[in-house]
């Protein structure tokens, strides 16, 4: 009798276990499958377009006139360049500010203001990018216009807004990475007579390197992928902002630019034929950039322990 009950319950337990296992499998497959579908559709539309235009032409051409009736040009270099420059500079600024902000929050922030600041940073990370765009239109553009002239719509505006947008990502993930470093490293450093600052910067932060690199890559990813806010402030002209390389010229920074993502987003609604397919081609390039970023992270973190992931 007793053993009959036991058998029955254990069979039920097993049934539940198998069902949940399958359920979880399906859930994770949905995510994986989505990725595969995205890759498939972008590449199957984009690659032929790139072939037709010619990969070199496509990547290094400086003229983008897809709707020209007799001789349409598909040179995406200006967009690639704008994405590249705005991301790099925003990243250099944002990663430094973000890392220092995370260190401040973790080690130096008075208890009383920790919660408010932390909550605001988290909120900043959660607000839709259109709202950043509003801020750009209402504050950054007039600021640039009044101080440097022009309309304000510019590479500089894109850089500023992207810097702001990647900050919460880097601060939040960076702080989590630093917080995950076991406290005994900190205590070990202090016990040698190292000051608080020396302990933090020479032991704790290096130990958090794996997690901080992860925060950086996500930040860059966000900067590369950001579309809406950039459309609202960058001016969206597909033209090289100055000559290659001299992006610290005022004229370069003040030139209106169009990034890869804003290019796609703005033209998709009316594009057709080859034009539409070249937009997928831009998607291919975007995708390759993101994949390379993640690979870079994996290589950088080959030998790093990521305490945030371990615990």
């Amino acid at each position: 009798m007793d053993s009959a009950i036991q058998q029955k319950t254990s069979r039920r337990v097993r049934a539940i276990e198998v069902t949940t296992k399958i359920l979880f499998l399906v859930c994770s497959l949905v995510a994986a499958l989505t990725l595969l579908l995205i890759i498939f559709f972008i590449f199957s539309n984009g690659i032929p377009a790139i072939m037709e235009v010619g990969a070199i032409n496509f990547l290094t051409g400086r003229t983008w006139t897809p709707t020209h009736s007799t001789n349409p040009q598909f040179g995406m270099l200006p967009m690639l360049y704008a994405t590249f420059i705005s991301t790099i500079i925003a990243f250099i600024l944002g990663s430094k500010i973000g890392k220092w902000g995370a260190i401040y929050l973790m080690f130096f922030c008075p208890k009383k203001i920790y919660r408010p600041i932390k909550t605001m940073v988290e909120l900043l990370g959660g607000i839709p990018s259109v709202l950043y765009g509003f801020f750009g239109v209402a504050v950054i553009l007039p600021f640039i216009r009044n101080n440097f002239g022009g309309t304000g719509n510019s590479l500089l505006a894109a850089i500023i807004i992207l810097t702001m947008m990647i900050l919460p990502t880097i601060i939040n993930l960076g702080e989590a990475a630093i917080r995950a470093v076991p406290n005994h490293f900190y205590e070990g450093a202090l016990s040698l007579g190292a000051s608080k600052t020396e302990s933090i910067f020479k032991v704790v932060v290096p130990a958090a390197k794996g997690g901080i690199n992860g925060a950086y890559i996500l930040g860059i990813g966000r900067a590369v992928g950001e579309t809406m806010a950039v459309i609202m402030v960058a001016g969206n002209v597909s033209r090289m902002p100055g000559t290659l390389g001299d992006f610290f010229q005022t004229s370069t920074l003040l030139a209106p630019v169009r990034t890869l993502t804003s290019g796609i987003a703005m033209e998709m609604s009316y594009a057709s034929g080859l034009h539409r397919d070249t937009l997928f081609g831009i998607g291919v390039v975007l995708f390759i950039i993101i994949i390379s970023l993640n690979l870079t992270l994996a290589i950088l973190n080959r030998n790093q322990t990521n305490y945030a992931k371990e615990s």
Partner: protein, 249 residues
């Protein structure tokens, strides 16, 4: 000669009083052991000696702790104190960097930059901590790749590298196997020639094997303090006797 003189120390974690009126003297070049049941305040007292408790919010110390006659809470910079009073933790905590950099970290922080000098310090400390032969060929390897016992000796070497006067050790062998434990005990006995050692241990045999003096603690009070041989053969307090004979704790 007295290294530490602890006078009427009361220690509070916010409202909770963890130490009650502790008085004791730690002699130089001797090994002093703190024993007692879990939660009696051994670690708390130990961490009061290098002000590690400063890190804990709401922790408050009353009374005075003198190191060579100087009040460590009122008259000494905390970083100077910690340079002079090193600490080895229960769980080995080598930094996630190379063996060499672990040892060199302290000297570097205190301003030593010359490579030959650092090399000399690293070798000497690793030798003093009886681990040189095991790591001399892997100085550039990550310290985390060492075994637990090796890591702990590395941590001892790391403490020695800043030339402390006193070494505090909080159950340094409790995470280790018997062979590693024996090695560390031997090492600690060697170290007392040059350093003063205060060690917390749960292992009664360890206390008898290595220490010169023993303090027995119970619920934040120091019940008895004296020569280790006396404490373990003719304890003057009934509670000490009960504890060392294993009747409680």
């Amino acid at each position: 000669m007295t290294a530490f003189e602890i006078n009427n120390v009361n220690l509070f974690y916010s409202d909770f009083q963890a130490l009650h009126d502790v008085n004791l003297k730690v002699n130089k070049h001797e090994i002093t052991a703190f024993i007692g049941p879990s939660g009696c305040g051994k670690s708390t007292l130990l961490r009061a000696l290098n002000r590690m408790n400063d890190l804990i919010d709401g922790c408050r110390v009353e009374g005075e702790v003198l190191l060579n006659g100087v009040d460590i809470y009122k008259e000494m910079d905390v970083n100077v104190l910690r340079k002079r009073v090193g600490m080895v933790f229960q769980k080995p905590n080598p930094f996630p960097m190379s063996v060499y950099d672990n040892i060199a970290y302290g000297p570097r922080v205190h301003g030593i930059k010359s490579k030959p000098q650092l090399n000399e310090i690293v070798e000497r400390c690793l030798r003093d901590a009886a681990i040189w032969d095991e790591v001399k060929d892997r100085l550039k390897k990550s310290a985390l790749s060492l075994s637990g016992g090796q890591q702990q000796r590395l941590c001892i070497a790391r403490s020695l590298a800043v030339q402390p006067d006193v070494l505090l050790m909080d159950e340094p062998t409790s995470a280790l196997d018997p062979i590693s434990t024996a090695k560390i005990e031997e090492l600690v006995i060697q170290l007392k020639k040059q350093y003063t050692v205060v060690i917390v241990t749960h292992n009664m045999q360890q206390a008898t094997r290595i220490s010169d003096n023993t303090g027995f603690f119970l619920m934040g009070e120091m019940i008895e303090y004296g020569k280790t041989s006396d404490i373990f053969s003719v304890p003057s307090d009934k509670r000490t006797e009960d504890y060392i004979t294993g009747r409680f704790g």
